[in-house]
């Protein structure tokens, strides 16, 4: 009964490919997020969705596009992958209080672009 689940856990792909990472939460939360963690363990928010609507879109390349079919899912699609996209991507969700409440994180997806 994983609260926030991401798939796949590992993803190795070539430059130029298009890939998606899926995220699902069964906590009934209204807000979901995508974070990128670089090799130095630095976590940076990329997107935030509340009830299927984008509320935060940090400065990320437009090759990254989040898609939320319903409030339990927030998928991340990446076009034309580049070497610099290699990182661990975390999905998270939080309760109706928004970001000022505890956020639950998925296990992460390690993306390696070769």
């Amino acid at each position: 009964d994983t609260a926030v689940s991401q798939t796949p856990k590992y993803l190795v792909t070539q430059m130029g490919n298009d890939k998606s990472i899926k995220c699902e939460q069964n906590l009934g939360h209204d807000t979901m997020y995508w974070y990128k963690q670089d090799s130095k363990k630095f976590l940076k928010i990329m997107f935030s969705y509340n009830n299927k609507e984008l509320i935060i879109n940090e400065t990320v390349p437009n090759r990254f596009s989040p898609k939320s079919p319903d409030k339990a899912h927030l998928n991340l699609h990446i076009n034309s992958l580049e070497l610099g996209d290699s990182a661990v991507y975390f999905c998270a969700s939080s309760s109706p209080g928004g970001m000022n409440t505890e956020a639950f994180f998925g296990q992460g997806t390690r993306l390696t672009v070769v």
Partner: protein, 111 residues
Amino acid sequence: GESVGLHLPTLSVQEGDNSIINCAYSNSASDYFIWYKQESGKGPQFIIDIRSNMDKRQGQRVTVLLNKTVKHLSLQIAATQPGDSAVYFCAEFYGDDKIIFGKGTRLHILP
């Protein structure tokens, strides 16, 4: 640049001793802070939070101290155990639902 940072990237502590992990932030408008623990291969896990109208909050074996005057946050872990080995992040929250994480401090427990 990012406004949240940590003083020490790696901290080694003897098992049973207390650990103190420090964090500096620069945004005086930040009104909420969280400490996260990230074990190897896992996602960040909430440890404890504190709002800006408080200067101390205690949990089970953990205490967070907030000094708004010098924009400093610390996490104290009492009687450090092997299971405390992880990377610890502080995070600050401010307007527009923004959250910024620091770079993390790795806590290493010595036997």
